[in-house]
Amino acid sequence: MTIKLYGAAMSTCTARVLACLHETGAEFELVPVNLLNGEHKQPAFLAKNPFGQIPALEDGDLTLFESRSMSTYVAEKFKGSGGDLLRAQNLKEAALVKTWMEVESQQFSPAISPIFYQFYIVPMQGGSPNQAIIDENSEKLGKVLDVYEKKLGSTKYLAGDFYSLADLHHLSYIYYLMKTPSAKLINERPHVKAWWEDISSRPAFEKVASGLILGEK
């Protein structure tokens, strides 16, 4: 049974799930959703995600939305053959993975999303990036990354000395950030920079990165 992922390869949240699908070696089909035509707001897609956002996932009669719960499902389903992204066999490690997955969602994402939005989405809509919003959120993101810098000084990855879903969830947003002036937020922090270089050079991510073409002419 092949997993169907509905979304767009260049979209950050779709890419989050793609990274996990590639990392685990899962068989899947990417079904493009035409955002420009408003396909995500049509009844057929709303039946998959009533909030009208990509991505959505189908695995037989299971339908999911919200990228992080989708990737968690994939990591769980393909554990063993597909690596150990959740560390479920070790209570302490599994708890740390869950903690740092929440950190990405609660601390990191709210700070980086507005920066991403200003650099990539606003120009697509014909506007110019709002520097005040970028500055305000860069300060927030800097504070979050200061915590990461300290953590990554004592462990190789966020949840411990093992690569986990907590690290993976950061890939697509940081990839796009690195093409903007705000890349300095990563580059100025040596442990964060080393961590980024490590996780972004994983072969599974390189397959995803080739689809992250927002902002390219």
Binding site: P50, F51, D59, L62, L64, F65, E66, R68, S69, M70, T72, Y73, E76, K77, L91, K92, A94, A95, L96, K98, T99, M101, E102, V103, S105, Q106, Q107, V144, V147, K150, K151
Partner: protein, 220 residues
């Protein structure tokens, strides 16, 4: 009152994330020691608390080897570790549990943002003698109404959000729904029958009532 337990919850009875974890502890009949953190005095932004959660937020939870912060992480782990046979608030089957995880994310990304805005305007500001900002309230109510329309449709098909049993996805809504029920935003819930019935069900859970009593005793 302090029972010596290997489980410690550091938090504040004014903090919804702390209350969520308390509900989970009571649902699983777990003994624990509650260590109050003085938010008003900024205790959560200083050491030693900062060395437990470098992001300076309550709650923090310790259970033997397991040390966590972020309420949803604590709750996800706890419900799996201590699921009571036949009464689990999660599923062992990964397909069913994926749906629970999905609706935890819905609470997180869709429900909570407009709800926290409303609580800030309608509950917290008046406590400080400030007036709610009408435009902010109207905007948040409009956003929340759209989310609650999705909930109403969902709850007309299922008894609870993820399935026909109570799960941690439902539980995570408790403190913020409780707070909103005391404000003008109550009408958004009352006007949606399935949503309203679900609210009444979950607010009546004995574990949640214990949390409310704990809050009331602290204020007494």
């Amino acid at each position: 009152m302090a029972m010596k337990s290997t489980r410690k919850l550091y938090g504040s009875l004014n903090s919804p994330p702390t209350l969520k974890v308390l509900a989970c502890l009571f649902e699983h009949d777990l003994d624990f020691e509650f260590v109050p953190i003085d938010i008003e005095a900024g205790e959560h932004k200083k050491k030693p608390f900062l060395s437990m959660n470098p992001f300076g937020q309550v709650p923090v939870y310790e259970d033997g080897d397991v040390k966590q912060f972020e309420s949803r992480a604590i709750i996800r782990s706890m419900a799996h570790q201590y699921g009571k046979k036949g009464e689990e608030l999660i599923y062992w089957d990964s397909r069913q549990q994926a749906v629970v995880a999905n609706w935890i994310d819905v609470e997180d990304h869709h429900f909570e943002p407009p709800v926290l805005k409303l609580i800030s305007e309608l509950v917290l500001k008046p406590k400080k003698g400030l007036t709610p900002e009408e435009e902010t309230v109207a905007g948040a109510e409009a956003k929340l109404a759209k989310v609650l329309d999705v909930y109403e449709a969902r709850l007309s098909k299922l008894k609870y959000l993820a399935s026909d049993k109570y799960t941690i996805a439902d539980m995570l809504h408790l403190p913020n729904i409780q707070a909103l029920m005391g404000t003008q935003a109550k009408k958004l819930f009352d006007s949606r029958p399935h949503l309203s019935a679900w609210c009444a069900e979950i607010l009546a859970r004995p574990a949640w009532i214990k949390v409310v009593e704990m809050q009331q005793n602290a204020q007494a």
